[in-house]
Amino acid sequence: MEQVLFRHNKPGRPVTFAEYQAEGGFAALKKGLKELSPLEVQQAVIDSGLRGRGGAGFPTGKKWSFVPRDLPGPRYLICNCDEMEPGTYKDRVLLEANPYSLVEGMILAGYAIGCEHAFIFIRRGYETAAMNLRRAIGEAREAGFLGRNILGSGFSMELDLHVSAGRYICGEETALMNALEGKRANPRSKPPFPAVKGLWGRPTVVNNVETLANVPSIITNGPAWFKGLAGIPEAAGMKLFCISGHVRNTVCVELPLGMTLGEIIDGPCGGMLQGKKFKACIPGGASTPFFTAEHWGVPMDFDAVAKAGSRLGTGGIVVFPENTCMVAATLNLTTFFARESCGWCTPCREGLPYVREILTRIEAGGGETEDVEILREHVKYLNYAFCALAPGAMGPVEGLLRLFEDEIREHVVKKRCPFKN
């Protein structure tokens, strides 16, 4: 299968600068900066149909186009590498193998939006990735790909790596900007959107690692080629899927968008573990509602997954076997989200711990029938929280209520967890 992001991967070690260049790396940069105007680069990305790989799936080129170009003063580009969604590790795998695609993609993106200073905001735990990036940035700067007047194009950009102090909320783009400014990582209210008023009040674009790393190949091979990579006509490009749970191979693989869930689990994952039967999975990181066996044939693309009642998210698939208690699984996820709430708004600060409380009660056999309704109410009203954390946290709970209500009721009726003896 054709690989785009993993094309340069070397077994057991990161690719070197020389190898990356020899294999055609930084060709896109040269092409973009020398042959294309910023607007042409942006147009290529728009035409390619590239959608944000960080979870929301917003069209990348369109996001760039919101940045006001005639405004004097600096514009910023931030790469969100604060990958803290449970079940997701694609950016780590990518950066540990190849930091150069990201650097190249960021320079191109910076060129497209007229950014003079870009930042990579990386999760604290990603030490190897940070090391790789630091080296890559240094090498790029030495090669004249960063700094003043890059490749004689008149375009100048600086790139800095910022290691996060570590909080799940820092992955929220506005909280990330607050953290980068040295403030408490609270989200900001939108509007104004970051593209208009972001980092230090300036127009800012925040993109995921995988999104930016895809840009060079689009510039090199053209939008049509990128679109054609996907398995179905509605989708565009490849996607990194990282699968964990009870499958034979827990791997991070680059697959065309539009492969069905079944194809992924039976294909690269080699099916379920010996003696285990598929019960459900999280299709795209901890904040997405569950998929069950009935979703086996859903094509894994943004729109198709949304239509099936979940979100493609980050592509972090976590597979649960038949004997999993879904209440316990949801409780586990909710515990994470309740802990990681920033405490800014009422529904998230007070509501998530309460959902955790109820699920704990149900799992322990102390649940009441009314609890189901209370959970349902939380799922509905926690959607109106300040940022996307609480609505995301309600994803699995929503899935639990929709797909496994019987299981909850069984807990309540039997006054114990039916999966525990």
């Binding site: 909080r167 909320i169 408490r184 609270n186 209210s189 509007p191 309740a338 802990r339 990681e340 709430s341 920033c342 405490g343 800014w344 708004c345 009422t346 529904p347 600060r349 007070e350 509501g351 998530l352 711990p353 309460y354 409380e357 009314e370 209370i374 109410e377 009203y381 959607n383 109106y384 929280a385 300040f386």
Partner: protein, 829 residues
């Protein structure tokens, strides 16, 4: 303008309005917990959720969402009400239901909304928090168990007060509002956080358990401390002022108050108040009846009158109302035939009564408070402007942080204003202000930055001549600044489209007199910055009615004696009867020893005051007067605003309002009918004082009236020389402490908790040279006396300069001073 529909009502609002603002304009109430009109939107509580049709029924917060054209908003669908109920239920999960013992009950937003949304029982239950309650300070009690995380305290402290005492700590459910290192609160204690707290998490300790909100009656009046003229709502129960109440719709300051305004009200019902007249018998002050006391006073005044009046003199505080000052002046000028009447030591009003009068043609600032936020460049003379007028300091904070005002502080020490973002502080040598501003004027003339209109103002040629000797290079050394700094400041000031100068006055600032005011007015006139919005010179009188006292002409004219001459006359025996109304010269006038000697010498001393002050102790007759809370009348504050003072309580004890006393004395001495009431006096004022023409007492309304200023300006050269330092000595600067105003705030518990005694503030360098630490006793010795003060080591003081506040009676700094701008003192441990 943007058109939108809210609950089927058409609304048109400015395009920067939020849905909440628009609804408010349409008279639709949207419930809020975390929103405050003075602060940036927060959007955390989720009470103000509304539905917008264009957003597919999604609920969005009204307080953070800007309006867009054609928006169709619903504010109370069943779904929204359910969401709000849920928010309340979630908040009540952790909020203790201790309303019976919580002082906020009755004034609690959470309680009111819980009632309104009929959240009678909580379907959710959980354990409550057990945060430790902060009882460490005497003014603000912090019970974080009750906190609902609206963040208003942290935001107001940051955005308006610019102190930053609070911040969010921890995350998730453990998130709470904390102080630095989660320790006890240690701040300016302005109490802004208490005023905005929607629940009982932050409480006023002086008011703790004193009364329930619903039992308080409220009276709106004007604060009686500094000249800012903040409006105040007093909470009264059983004839006592128990607290001040926050009203966000009050005054230019939106209810914002400082430490003394908010916590200093206790002097009104202080146990130390004088409740009966006192008469000196056998060397001792004993209680007497009003008849006895008044007849003694009358007898004395009659004999002075018969002797031609010149032997009687009066020192009065500008804390009285305009009406009282007017009657007092009439008592002396008309009834007794004496011109010997003055206030504020004769120098603290000079900038207005002589400086502005000569230079502008009227004795007032040409600018108003509103100009602070409308200007582009703000030139503040002395960082002390924040300490003397804290609420104007908040206006400066807001101007700098929200409106991008370019703040330049010209001061002999740094201060809180110096720490504002992008503020520039020019620290000059003490006493060199006039020199500096004359040099700036010279730069403006020299570089041809003079406004075209200045040539039509008389006296330009004389001014140019007088400035010959003030080349920046020549005075730089004496000012302690580089010539370049002076030149750049002058250029920036002249080139700014709008620029405002702020000059605080006060008993602690002998240098802020006629010459300084005129040097500043010259600058403004030269650059055409008078009479335009956001421009001018804002001269800030120290006391609540400093401007009014000048308006009423309570300073000597027609050969009358000024304050210094009056005291000299007492000492020399030419002044035989001295009537001191509310002033405390023993503590607040320069040269305590000389003042005390003069007062000991005078034949008959009448003191009319709220308390048995250091001055009253020397009196032959003491008349107990009333505080501002017991009076009706008017105050005129900074920026010429005449505001109504309203009586909140009956006089304490047998005390009588100054108006009643003076009215009776005037009627007796002038042998006429007394005035019917204060309104009658105000009517006479508006007939006799040109500035007040056409203004009626009833027409003042809630927000008062700004009297219109008009006059012919002219350039008056201001003389300023270099202050000669004395080797081995320190420059002692007196002034105002943040929590005090005059000598009155000493009787308010709040200010005394925070700042109970005088201190000497000095730099780290000097402290290490003198080997002193904080709170070590320092001996300060000048030519006229010696005091021992606690040291306060701070980073804001330049080397060789010492600052001491003047409010305190014990070890008072006026023992050292003689009325010069700088006093040279020897300092030892």
């Amino acid at each position: 303008m943007v058109n939108l529909t809210i609950d089927d009502k058409q609304v048109t609002v400015p395009k920067d309005a939020t849905i909440y603002d628009a609804a408010k304009a349409a008279g639709i109430r949207i419930p809020i917990l975390c929103h405050d009109k003075k602060l940036h939107p927060f959007g955390g509580c989720r009470m103000c959720l509304v539905e917008v049709e264009q957003m597919k029924g999604r609920q969005i917060p009204a307080c953070t969402t800007p309006v867009t054209e054609g928006m169709i908003v619903r504010t109370s669908t069943p779904d929204i009400i359910q969401a709000r109920k849920m928010v309340l239920e979630l908040l009540l999960l952790k909020h203790p239901i201790d309303c019976p013992v919580c002082d906020a009950a009755g004034d609690c937003d959470l309680q009111n909304l819980t009632y309104e949304y009929k959240v009678n029982a909580n379907r959710f239950t959980d354990e409550k928090f057990q945060h430790k309650i902060d009882y460490e300070n005497p003014l603000i009690e912090r019970d974080m168990n009750r906190c609902i995380h609206c963040g208003k305290c942290a935001r107001i402290c940051d955005e308006i007060v610019s102190y930053g005492a609070y911040s969010f700590l921890n995350r998730g459910l453990e998130a709470k509002i904390g102080t630095e290192f989660d320790g006890p609160l240690n701040c300016e204690f302005c109490g802004s956080c208490v005023s905005v707290c929607p629940v009982g998490a932050l409480l006023s300790r002086p008011f703790k358990f004193k009364a329930r909100w619903w039992a308080l009656s409220k009276t709106k009046t004007v604060c009686s401390y500094c000249g800012t003229g903040c409006q105040l709502t007093l909470g009264i129960k059983d004839g006592k002022v128990l607290t001040t109440i926050y009203d966000e719709n009050q005054g230019f300051h939106n209810g914002q108050l400082c430490t003394r305004g908010r916590w200093g009200y206790q002097f009104v019902n202080s146990d130390k108040r004088l409740t009966t007249p006192l008469i000196r018998k056998n060397g001792k002050l004993v209680q007497a009846s009003w008849e006895e006391a008044l007849s003694a006073v009358k007898e004395r005044l009659f004999s002075a009158k018969t002797a031609g009046g010149e032997s009687a003199a009066c020192l009065v505080t500008p804390r009285l109302t305009n009406e009282e000052l007017f009657v007092l002046k009439k008592l002396f000028n008309v009834a007794l035939g004496s011109q010997n009447i003055d206030h504020s030591a004769g120098y603290a009003h000079n900038a207005l009564s002589a400086g502005a009068l000569e230079s502008l043609g009227y004795a007032a600032s040409p600018s108003t408070i509103a100009d602070i936020q409308k200007t582009n460049l703000l030139l503040v003379v002395k960082s002390d402007a924040y300490e003397t007028h804290p609420v104007l300091g908040f206006e400066i904070n807001l101007g700098v942080k929200r409106k991008g005002v370019d703040l330049r502080v010209v001061s002999d020490k740094r201060g809180k204003l110096s720490r504002l973002p992008d503020a520039t502080t020019y620290v000059h040598k003490p006493g060199s202000e006039v020199l500096l501003f004359n040099a700036m004027a010279r730069v403006i003339i020299g570089e041809n930055l003079v406004d075209a209109g200045a040539s039509s103002i008389s006296g330009l040629a004389e001014l140019k001549n007088s400035l010959q000797g003030y080349a920046p290079e020549k005075v730089a050394e004496a000012c302690g600044m580089s010539a370049d700094e002076i030149i750049v400041l002058a250029r920036d000031y002249a080139k700014a489209e709008k620029a405002l100068i702020m000059l605080p006055l006060g008993l602690g600032y002998p240098g802020h007199g006629k010459d300084l005011a005129q040097a500043l007015i010259n600058l403004a006139l030269l650059t055409g910055k008078i009479g335009k919005e956001g421009c001018g010179v804002l001269i800030m009188g120290e006391k609540n009615n400093s401007q009014g006292a000048v308006d009423m002409g309570v300073y000597p004219a027609k050969g009358g004696k000024d304050a210094v001459a009056i005291l000299d006359g007492c000492a020399a025996g030419t002044v035989k009867t001295l009537y001191v109304v509310g002033e405390n010269p023993v503590v607040s006038y320069p040269n305590r020893k000389a003042v005390e000697a003069a007062l000991d010498k005078v034949e008959f001393l009448i003191v009319q005051d709220l308390f048995l002050t250091e001055t009253a102790e020397k009196a032959h007759v003491v008349l107990p007067a009333c505080s501002f809370a017991e009076k009706d009348g008017t105050f005129t504050s900074v920026g010429k605003v005449i505001q109504r003072v309203n009586r909140a309580i009956a006089p304490v004890g047998l005390s009588r309002s100054d108006f009643e006393i003076l009215n009776a004395l005037y009627a007796a001495c002038a042998n006429t009918q007394p005035y019917a009431d204060v309104a009658a006096v105000f009517a006479e004022i508006s007939e006799n004082v040109p500035a007040y023409k056409g203004i009626s007492y009833a027409g003042l309304g809630e927000n008062g009236v700004i009297w219109p200023a008009g006059g012919t300006p002219r350039f008056v050269p201001a003389e300023g020389g270099a202050v000669q330092g004395e080797s081995g000595k320190y420059a002692l600067l007196t002034g105002s402490a943040l929590n005090h105003c005059g000598t009155l705030s000493r009787f308010g518990e709040g200010p005394m908790y925070v700042c109970p005694a005088g201190y000497a503030e000095l730099s780290y360098t000097d402290a290490s040279a003198l080997k002193v630490k904080n709170d070590d006793l320092l001996t300060l010795k000048s030519a006229s006396g010696e005091v021992r003060l606690k040291a306060k080591v701070s980073a804001r003081m330049p080397q060789g300069v010492i600052f001491a506040p003047y409010h305190f009676g014990e070890e008072s700094v006026n023992t050292l001073t003689t009325g010069a701008p700088v006093t040279w003192v020897n300092v030892s441990k």
